[in-house]
């Protein structure tokens, strides 16, 4: 189908963009990469009356390092993040995840800010941000504020962004000594929506894991930190028995819903499989990791 009728505006500054979103309120939507929004418009799942196009604001893009923080502007495209040496050095989990984000043509256009603000429960970027304890910079008429990724995702397509606010950037605090990361996703076709996925990090000492973060996605309405499973993994040296116990503990962390494609039990089983694979990735990889 074709998009319903709307009007379109291209602000020339962030201040103008924020004025516009405050002027039009709920009737307006940000147009970032448009790789979810335009599909939703074409399918008539959304019908905003105004699109505010952010693609003419270069100050919203770019990847930089300030002190020990990696900062990625909201309009930075997935393809740029995928190829960035700075991201590979300071947030390697994102580098691992990027090839799983849809397909090449979509990564050339889609943006990290769009993925975060849209908050699709099956999306890779929000889960990576939760696993890495990223912080989002948000601007409104009253100025800027910072929100932890772990407080940002509230539910299905629901975030802590208030009316009249926009996402400016995501900040990542760099790699801790001994930290390793793993990214695993199961999908019917490479690049399709995940059936279940896991973004993980830990500091590794021999066969022991510390500071473990396991952020599952596509199994709930938002990314979920598996705290019960993590507690078991951190109790001692990782053995096949301990991994099995952690897999069992996932039942306390995750409660996937049935949908038309997959049952709750199947998603739970896949989450357990992903946990074992990610733990194995974390323990094995000393250098560059391959998670496909």
């Amino acid at each position: 189908m074709k998009a319903p009728s709307f009007s379109y505006v291209r602000p020339e500054s962030i201040a103008q963009a924020i004025d516009l979103i405050n002027q039009y309120g709920d009737e307006a939507r940000w147009l970032a990469g448009g790789q979810s929004l335009l599909a939703a418009l074409n399918m008539r799942l959304a019908a905003p009356s105004v699109l505010i196009d952010l693609n003419s604001l270069p100050e919203l893009g770019g990847i930089s390092v300030h002190g020990d923080k990696l900062i990625i502007g909201a309009m930075t495209r997935h393809a740029e993040i995928e190829c960035s040496p700075l991201v590979a050095q300071h947030a390697p989990l994102l580098s691992l995840a990027m090839p799983h984000v849809a397909h090449a043509a979509i990564r050339n256009r889609g943006t990290i800010g769009g993925s975060i603000a849209f908050a699709d429960p099956a999306a890779e970027v929000p889960a990576c941000c939760v696993a890495l304890d990223a912080v989002f910079v948000v601007a409104g008429r009253g100025g800027e504020r910072r929100v932890r990724a772990r407080d940002f995702f509230l539910g299905l397509y629901d975030t802590a962004l208030q009316a009249g606010e926009m996402l400016l950037a995501a900040e990542f605090s760099g790699v801790r000594p001994g930290e390793r990361v793993a990214f695993r996703e199961l999908a019917r076709r490479h690049g399709d929506y995940a059936i279940a996925g896991l973004a993980a990090r830990a500091t590794v000492n021999g066969n022991a894991l510390r500071d473990v973060d396991l952020a599952f996605f596509a199994v709930d309405t938002k990314p979920v930190l598996a705290t019960h499973a993590v507690a078991i993994l951190q109790q001692g040296t990782v053995t096949p028995e301990r991994v099995q116990l952690a897999q069992q503990a996932l039942a306390q962390d995750l409660a996937p819903q049935d949908d038309v494609h997959y049952s709750s039990a199947m998603r739970m089983q896949l989450a357990r499989v992903l946990l074992a694979r990610a733990v194995s990735d974390l323990l094995q990889a000393a250098g560059v990791q391959e998670s496909r």
Partner: protein, 170 residues
């Protein structure tokens, strides 16, 4: 300064296959409909209209995009290459011409609906990674549906061009 106000129609000026184009377009018009219906360039195909099938792939300022997930107004000031100009008006022209020859020889198309997008997508990979493995080729083409060939002959054709170009490099 007051912000610009929303409009429903707009003038755009862009380059399509090396030619300057100016048109007045409704802002809700997709780029692919602009290319096909307004400019008559029907080599870019419309399949699913929500970014899944890949049939509408074009080059947008040098990078492949889904033309069903872009608005014509967003192409203002940009450089678009469609399959009509891909072998002549583009930096990847020689690769596309090689791909067309291999697709023909290996029967890597039957109905041809997916072919223009397959060529543009494969050309982007070969331009960057002529040494790509079959797995990498399959991954890169994963966003483009073909309902005829079963993909085997497409991957064969792309691989053949890869090998030829990697061999030709010093």
């Amino acid at each position: 300064m007051n912000p610009p106000q929303p409009v429903t129609e707009v003038d755009i000026a862009l380059t399509v296959n090396g030619e300057n184009v100016t048109r007045h377009v409704p802002v809700r018009q997709n780029l692919v409909d602009f290319l096909r219906d307004t400019l008559g360039l029907t080599g870019t195909h419309v399949g699913c209209e929500h970014g899944v099938c890949g049939a509408c792939t074009v080059r947008f300022d040098g990078a492949i995009v889904r033309a069903c997930l872009m608005l014509a107004v967003q192409a203002d000031g940009t450089d678009i290459v469609t399959i009509e100009g891909a072998a002549t008006a583009d930096g990847n022209g020689e690769i596309v011409a090689d791909l067309q020859r291999e697709f023909h020889q290996r029967n890597a198309l039957q109905c041809g609906f997916c072919t223009p997008a397959m060529l543009l997508t494969a050309a982007e990979l070969i331009a960057v990674r002529p040494q790509a493995s079959r797995d990498e080729i399959r991954t890169h083409l994963s966003g483009n549906y073909c309902r005829c060939t079963g993909y085997q002959s497409i991957v064969d054709a792309v691989e053949a061009v890869c090998r030829k170009r990697a061999g030709a490099q010093p």
